[in-house]
Symmetry: C2
Subunit: 200 residues, 2 copies
């Protein structure tokens, strides 16, 4: 037989199990044995594929965050209005959550908002997202479609903060999370940040 026996990717299996377990219990209260059990794999195998428990989370974060960064930078390259770019960014993040809520929960709760632990480690990567958004705003100002009296960095933080708060709300069931909520959120985020909540 030239065909190999199904080479089940145990590494992937461990990562996927880790997403589920981290999402369910949080990073700090999951034991490495929980991951191994969830993956249906021996304890030691986790250490065959990963240097440490931390590295499992790092891998999950970096895998996904690089996609996010690409998406932001990609949308900035397209020949669309700054407002449409912001909408693309919000859309990508919201869709990421819709597509894989567990992974996004882990990333936000354990990394992005865990500023004392993994957030520190990945600060540079996280910052790159802020900076890319700020650049979109700055370009919009240069083009005259955004006000110049709001600092781009400030606008970027407000925008990203609003997006993340929304995801947090969904994650912890503070606000409803249906498909229509997701779609509304995309346009409402942009409407809020660009137009404001006062009538025009």
């Amino acid at each position: 037989m030239a065909s190999k026996a199904p080479p089940i990717d145990k590494r992937r299996q461990i990562l996927d199990a880790a997403i589920r377990v981290f999402a369910r219990q949080g990073f700090h209260s999951t034991r490495v044995s929980d991951i191994a059990d969830e993956a249906g794999v021996a304890y030691g195998l986790v250490y065959h594929y990963f240097k440490s428990k931390d590295e499992v989370l790092n891998e999950l974060f970096s895998e996904r965050w690089s996609l996010l960064l690409s998406a932001i930078e990609e949308s900035d390259r397209e020949g669309i209005s700054p407002r449409a770019k912001l909408e693309a960014v919000a859309g990508f993040i919201v869709d990421s959550y819709r597509h894989d809520p567990e992974l996004m929960k882990v990333i936000i709760v354990e990394v992005t908002r865990a500023a004392n632990s993994f957030g520190r480690t990945h600060l540079a990567e996280i910052r790159r997202a802020y900076d890319s958004i700020a650049k979109i705003v700055a370009d919009g100002q240069a083009a005259g479609v955004f006000r110049r009296d709001i600092d781009p960095t400030f606008a970027s933080m407000s925008f990203y903060g609003a997006v993340e708060q929304l995801l947090s709300g969904w994650i912890f069931e503070v606000i409803p999370a249906s498909d229509t909520d997701f779609d509304q959120a995309k346009s409402l985020l942009v409407a809020t940040i660009c137009d404001g909540i006062e009538p025009r």
Copy 2:
């Protein structure tokens, strides 16, 4: 002598030490002995005044958060415009940070954004803040000074998310934090959320 020897409040001393240590090292990597050392007090005394290490943080959070809730509800009672109410809320939070950055850091990093641990425990209290802000927005809509096509809960989350993201930026030195930055932030937050970043 009728005057008592200075009754140094050891309980308070422990709480204040905990703020400093939690801010410096984060809750998870501070040992109870670190708190005791910082307070200049014996290890066991921490357990004389508090049931557990968790209870120390709970106390710090509740102490401060109740002030925040009062301030929000207070500002809603004053006969000012909804926009001014939002400015009061943003102002109070920003000033809280200016006045005691270490405590606010602990509250945000370890509770408000630690959704899997203490955030869960205090979810109801945190939610009350969201709800109070949402009420301000809803009243503004009823009065016709805010658009009706943005859900108050949504607006509240965006607003609070922006505020918290800003504090996070200061805490982790992603953005500069001087007194003028604080003052600008107050009005910019409201300008952003109310007026939007597009020119009127």
